[in-house]
């Protein structure tokens, strides 16, 4: 059933370590510049090279490559295949809703067929299932005359395969055996192999597993510093990246993100130099200039509250205006214009969600009676703010609503339709859909900040009515 190659795997791994660079340099010269272009992935590339071998040699039926986002999985595999101009198909599984799209596009790429206007964007074959795919793959390979070469099929975001037809993933793992051709399937994913394993049985070939580890700090530095902008020395740029990393490395190790931030904030960094206030040597001055700026960026640009475009614009005309607050972060723009009674309904819903029902009398009854001083020996309760909102019936909402609204409000259709429109605005959520009319239950799904700002507009003190804050 399961065939594993522990012996062979160890073999390859040790060989790859031994040779490392030599192995890479052995391969044809046109791939040399590729290896120099991809930084800090020498070991993985050497391992892939030794696995792939010569085009005519049989390879491992499937290779599973995993690692976090932005660790160069796709880059390494696609450049390797392109540089050596090996016959291959590269498919992103997210793009394929159905298995037919996936299989069709693989066959098209293996046959070097591109959908374009002249052929009406049609693919070469109609391939509905794995059975046809295996048959057509063999035919396609024979027609192109590449029987004695390894054909590579790369499936990016392979975790999507688990949700497609059940036989798809096992068949891809066994493809070279099923088709009888020299096919190697690369699976690229961010999740580990065990999560694939539990989905189906183990009647398949175990793939060879390669891990792409995260870049270390120095590796990140090396990679980002390699795209130094013109007109500045490499040392200057790498010292800038170093400063940037000291702020961002704690929260973010994603290469793409840091690279983006480096690009975005560089004009600000060199501003003193362009103005003539400092030179490239004054690193201390530059640091003092950039540090508050970067910290601000951490709270705004990194969280995408301010778009990159806004940030760049702000940097450009900051000279004229000073206030950083001129940009409104999107989270503080949570003001929604609501009708008067809707505001009260929402406040009532919030109070009903976060107050225990047994204290309603104490808060809302006109003659609230004596509150016993039992607060001392009350048990330590978990804050209701932490537990999240609870469901409440409509009756309780209306009772609280009438007690917090000072004027007399008739329970018109208008009021009730406002409740249901709050549900459509997703400020309230209906819980349990069994009876829509009889006794609907709701939950309030807005934050404390939001409700406080709403309450401020109608000058109502919410905090005074919240159990958690009063006790």
């Amino acid at each position: 059933m399961t065939r594993q190659f522990p012996q062979k795997c160890n073999d390859i791994a040790t060989r790859a370590e031994e040779f490392k660079m030599e192995d890479v340099s052995l391969v044809a010269s046109d791939t040399e510049d590729v290896t120099s272009r991809i930084l800090c992935r020498e070991k993985q590339m050497a391992m892939l090279y030794s696995l792939m071998g010569e085009p005519s040699q049989p390879t491992c039926p499937s290779v599973f490559i995993y690692g976090h986002g932005a660790t160069g999985k796709t880059l390494v595999v696609s450049t390797l295949l392109k540089a050596a101009s090996l016959p291959h198909a590269f498919v992103n599984c997210i793009e394929c809703q159905t298995s037919r799209q996936l299989l069709d596009s693989i066959l098209d790429q293996v046959a070097n067929h591109k959908p374009h206007p002249e052929n009406n964007y049609s693919s070469l074959n109609r391939c509905e299932n794995m059975n046809t795919f295996v048959r057509l793959l063999k035919k396609t390979i024979e027609e192109r005359g590449i029987e004695n070469q390894t054909v590579y099929i790369v499936l990016d975001k392979a975790e999507r395969l688990r949700n497609m037809d059940g036989n798809l993933l096992p068949a891809f793992l066994n493809l070279s055996q099923l088709s009888g051709c020299n096919v190697c399937v690369f699976l690229l994913s961010q999740i580990v192999w065990e999560k694939f394993l539990f989905g189906f049985g183990s009647n398949h070939f175990e793939p060879f597993i390669i891990h792409f580890p995260d870049y270390t700090k120095s590796e990140l530095l090396e990679i980002i510093a390699s795209d130094c902008p013109k007109g500045y020395s490499a040392e200057f740029y790498s010292s800038y990246v170093n400063l940037l990393m000291s702020i961002f490395y704690m929260v973010c190790r994603d290469l793409n993100e840091i690279r983006h931030l480096a690009q975005l904030n560089f004009p600000k960094y060199v501003e003193p130099i362009t103005k003539g206030e400092a030179s490239e040597k004054d690193s201390h001055k530059l640091w003092r200039h950039i540090e508050p700026h970067l910290k601000k960026a951490l709270q705004t640009v990194y969280l995408r509250e301010v778009t990159s475009e806004q940030w760049e614009k702000y940097q450009r005309d900051e000279i004229s205006q000073t206030g950083q607050s001129s940009i409104l972060p999107s989270s503080s723009r949570t003001q929604i214009e609501l009708p008067f009674y809707s505001k009260y309904l929402l406040i009532a819903a919030y109070l009903a969600s976060y107050n225990p029902a047994r204290y309603d009398r104490r808060f809302f009854s006109k003659n609230s009676g004596k509150v016993k001083k039992s607060a001392v020996n009350r048990k330590k309760e978990t804050s209701h703010q932490l537990l999240g909102p609870r469901a409440f019936p409509l009756d309780r909402l209306m009772a609280i609503f009438y007690s917090i609204v000072d004027s007399r409000v008739a329970p018109t259709a208008n009021i009730f339709s406002q409740i249901s429109s709050l549900v459509t605005l997703q400020l309230l959520a209906q819980v349990g859909h069994e009876d829509q009319l009889d006794t609907p239950k709701y939950k309030c799904t807005v934050s404390l900040e939001f409700i406080r700002s709403i309450a401020r507009t109608v000058s109502f003190d919410v905090i005074r009515y919240l159990y958690d804050f009063v006790k």
Binding site: M1, T2, N131, T132, R135, K139, R162, V192, W193, E194, K195, L197, F198, G199, G201, S202, N203
Partner: protein
Amino acid sequence: TPRKDIVPHITERRTPCKTPAKVLEHARARLHVSAVPDSLPCREHEFDDIYTFVRSKILDGTGGCMYISGVPGTGKTATVTEVMSFLRKEVEEDEDFPEFTLVEINGMKLTEPHQAFVQILKNLTGQKATAEHASQLLEKYFTSAAGRKQPIVLLVDELDLLWTRKQGVLYSIFDWPSRPKARLIVLAIANTMDLPERIMMNRISSRLGLTRMTFQPYTFKQLQSIVQSRLEGLQAFEPDAIQLAARKVAAVSGDARRALDICRRATELAETTKPTGKSKGPLVGMKHVDAALTEMFSSPKIVAMRQASRHEQIFLRAIATEFKMSGLEEGSFEKVLIQHISICRLEGLHPPVVSEVAAVCSRLASCRLILLESGTNELKQRIRLNVSQDDVTYALRDHSE
């Protein structure tokens, strides 16, 4: 088109079948399930019942239904087929006996219950139609007797597979015989006795009528005589050996096919063993039958557990320990993992990492020694044993000694 090469087919036979030369080869050929004898022993009574039923209906020119049930391997289909061939012979010999048409359908051979109409119509008239159209044509065919003189015998095998939500197919099949001009006799065969009560609507089971017949499982004496009748004139078996096979099979299921299979396997075993000096010929003895029986009846799970790798065995033990500790018949993967690691520590093995244990778990699940719930909630995955805990301890204790 390349469609042809995806249609599966059996490779053609190059060399002709061997004609049996030795005694044991003869015996094997006769014991094969496909070698149905001309007359079935031990089913004379049932034969008579069915025969008189069909014969009287044909002679009267009326229609009717008969429901035949019994566990697999009790000779239902063979008996009915024998009745039909007997009647066919009677038509040829007896001038007065009216001709009849025989239509056979098998629920298992149909892709979809409504295809039954298509099959029946094709067998009756040679006409091809869609299922809906065929049902209309058959309706007309059975209501009017225009241009038709022969009575029809409809033989429906594997009746339970013709069940649909609306039960239209079953209703039609049992409704046609009650038409005045239909002259249709339906013989329905299924495995369960209470099928009409369980799955059919009242209006169908009432049309089915009360003519029912149950084929009892064979007793050991009947099984013995079946095997003996097949081996008539051949000196291949010790009589005790046949009796042993018959008794074992009768105790479990009373399935004649199973008894024949065991005897066949025993002859194969006897052939491979070298004949000892004093016995005159290769005779199938008790020990061969016993070996064949253990081969067929013994559970492969214990063997699988004994042959499993060390960590797989430790994992099974970890499950058993976890069940013993919690008192439940179900445990989560993380709990079993903790047990697994502690067992490894006790045994002085290097404790494995989670992914290795996950691979062990999925391997055991794929050979069905343990059951996993579907879904991919890794550590919270619920695990159950597919064998009894005693089997696990038995298999693993034995092995470690």
